[in-house]
Symmetry: C2
Amino acid sequence: MPPRPVRAQCYMSECKAVCLVSGGMDSATCLAVAGSEGFSCHALTFDYGQRHVHELNAARTLVEKLGAAEHKIVTIDLRAFGGSALTDAIDVPKDQPLEGRDSGIPVTYVPARNTILLSYALAWAEVLGAWDIFIGVNAVDYSGYPDCRPAYIDAYERMANLATKAAVEGDRRMTIHAPLISLTKVDIIRRGLALGVDYAWTHSCYDPASDGRACGRCDACRIRRAGFEQASVADPTDYVS
Amino acid sequence: MPPRPVRAQCYMSECKAVCLVSGGMDSATCLAVAGSEGFSCHALTFDYGQRHVHELNAARTLVEKLGAAEHKIVTIDLRAFGGSALTDAIDVPKDQPLEGRDSGIPVTYVPARNTILLSYALAWAEVLGAWDIFIGVNAVDYSGYPDCRPAYIDAYERMANLATKAAVEGDRRMTIHAPLISLTKVDIIRRGLALGVDYAWTHSCYDPASDGRACGRCDACRIRRAGFEQASVADPTDYVS
């Protein structure tokens, strides 16, 4: 897939974008894409009661390496409501086959997570005077997550344009960019490498060891590993098994 | 305006709803409406860097008095982004005429606030297995706030039904109820009194004195005062001036 054309207005004046950065491969690639399109990126990371800090450290590293105008880390407490293996004391599933599993939504799904994260991004965009928000959702590898689908992103964008002072008073539209939404993991890796991403900066594992090494067995590790194998690229990750 | 008919399914089994409760008159009335419609209310209040704790105390009081299955108070830091007189160190405007002011959005507007609050409500609803969310927004007195309008609520509901596991896997729809959206303050006061709300439990002032008394001069106080006057009902509020 060819890269998206650079938007003309990004060269007319400074064009700010809020970019959601989790610390994973997809958000690293998404940040690189936003930068390559000429946006001045305001990176936004959440500490939402993840079980581990490795993801946050990865977010700090990759924002520093890829560059951004600013990086905010906001604490939100999704554990207040529970409901996910990533925020509750539910075991993260291991060794699940990636192919042929049923179409159910995985227990690692965090209720309304992307809706909450995009809402903070929208608030910040409004304060910054930014009209563009980047989110690295992907509908291919995470097909079980309802809030990673194009129809969801379109509905969010429509709502955002009714929600904000800027959109009501201004003559411009808020755009939610999801440049990875239809890419495979192989496409994402190739795109990121072409844009200078070193995936050693990123963290994917849902259940890392205490020394930070990836478990190699959760869904996120398995999707990551398979992506590097299929792309015929060396995986820089240090796995436990 | 006659009360909405009671929804039939609320008598078929326990019908849970998440109700946003700020501590003001509108959310108190909204909670009373939800209860009167047969819902088991799960009240949700946010501590979002308000300048004062009187609003939170009012929320606790009115939930206790009106009754709810549960009350969660979640801390969120909207000050991280700034952009409003309610979260920043901007002076709250005083003595502004309520009639004939320009149609601009007031400086007390908090960027994307309702979008963020509804997103947390959506997460909790999904975890609870609730299909109904109540928010006490009002398009009449707060006509300058984009996220208090019917078109916004409709767009949010549409997005919510694409965002969540429950909506994707289930055969029911998430409903965002905004029962006060087209009521005047007089209508709201009359409706609440008929449902047993004592407005002494509520707090409206944007800039209360250190002893908790309402300033009497900010927009919220002036709208509140005018509402009681027009409804020919004694205002239980203790104003500074």
